[in-house]
Subunit: 197 residues, 2 copies
């Protein structure tokens, strides 16, 4: 029984990952057992390596292998621009676009009255502390266009009012987007921010 | 760079699991890193445990922690009935129904001319060798209703003709199934095998 139990325990753990359920976890585990040497053992090793090496950057909250992340340490990044994001995943998404050359600040979530998350639970105090010493001139609020995201953006804007230039990402029709499939709010925003050709 | 590389390597490996792509792998990895002590390390440990302990049953091909699996070792299982399945996942599905009390034989795939998989690549010779010594009287061919599955069932039936009773799973309307959503083949099979009330 012990090994069937081991497999079931692994399936139960895999099923807790986002995007996987009991059925897909079972499929993934069987696939891994079939490719034990090629996938199961290397994957477990890699997980241990990540668990041991990855830490949060003390400055911006990005993930890295040292106390300051690669972006904070890089001399090629512009010092004046700071892009505020909710989450490391958002930072990665911004980096994939490859267009922003400044530095980041990862909040680690959004303000939420329901979940009792205030500024102290996020990296907001640390954000305010960075402005003067780093000579930041522009803060780009790249928070998600959700209620909580926008509440957080307003709070930060209030705190930084008059100290730096504050900007936010443009809202409008996504590239490749079809009007027919867009919500009313997006169309309203795109129309209001229309540009002369 | 090394740790971002470590995370990316982990994402690439997770993305090779069935049902996960680059995007969902990224989400799963970030989730695991956030719950490092609760999820990432225990998951890696459990994977190592499974990689070290799980082996194929020498008799039937099921997964277990010893050279013979729990089902083959169990004295409560009926000796005369042998259920032939393609894969361990199919055996698990049969076991979940809890209705079959005999033993199993896992082929490890299906015959496939395209992929050059002949009887020797599967556990078919070992199946033929089990019939007489184990006193098997009925072989249930529970293979998938695919072309390859049915080809394999025909091949095995040819080999065992006259030696044992051969049966296959009934085909028909699944429980809770709606006729409107069923394919023509299933409706044809269900109509041909109709039963008197």
């Amino acid at each position: 029984m012990s090994s069937t139990g081991d497999i079931q325990a692994l399936i139960d753990m895999m099923a807790r990952l986002p995007g996987l359920g009991p059925r897909s976890a079972r499929r993934a585990v069987l696939h891994m057992i079939r490719k034990r040497a090629l996938l199961l053992t290397p994957l477990a090793d890699q997980m241990h390596r990540v668990a041991a090496s990855v830490r949060e950057c003390a400055t911006c909250g990005n993930l890295g292998s040292t106390d300051r992340c690669d972006i904070c340490l890089s001399e090629k990044r512009a010092n004046g621009e700071l892009c505020v994001v909710e989450d490391v995943a958002d930072l990665w998404a911004m980096e994939r676009s490859g267009v922003f050359r400044g530095r980041y600040h990862v909040l680690g979530g959004t303000l939420s009255a329901l979940d009792a998350i205030g500024p102290e639970e996020l990296r907001i105090p640390r954000l305010l502390d960075r402005i003067a010493p780093e000579g930041i001139t522009e803060v780009i609020l790249a928070l998600n266009a959700t209620v909580d995201g926008q509440t957080t953006a307003h709070y930060i804007a209030d705190q930084l009012e008059g100290r730096v230039m504050l900007t936010s990402l443009a809202q409008g029709v996504p590239i490749g987007g079809e009007l027919d499939y867009l919500d009313d709010g997006t169309i309203t925003a795109a129309l209001r921010a229309r540009k002369q050709l």
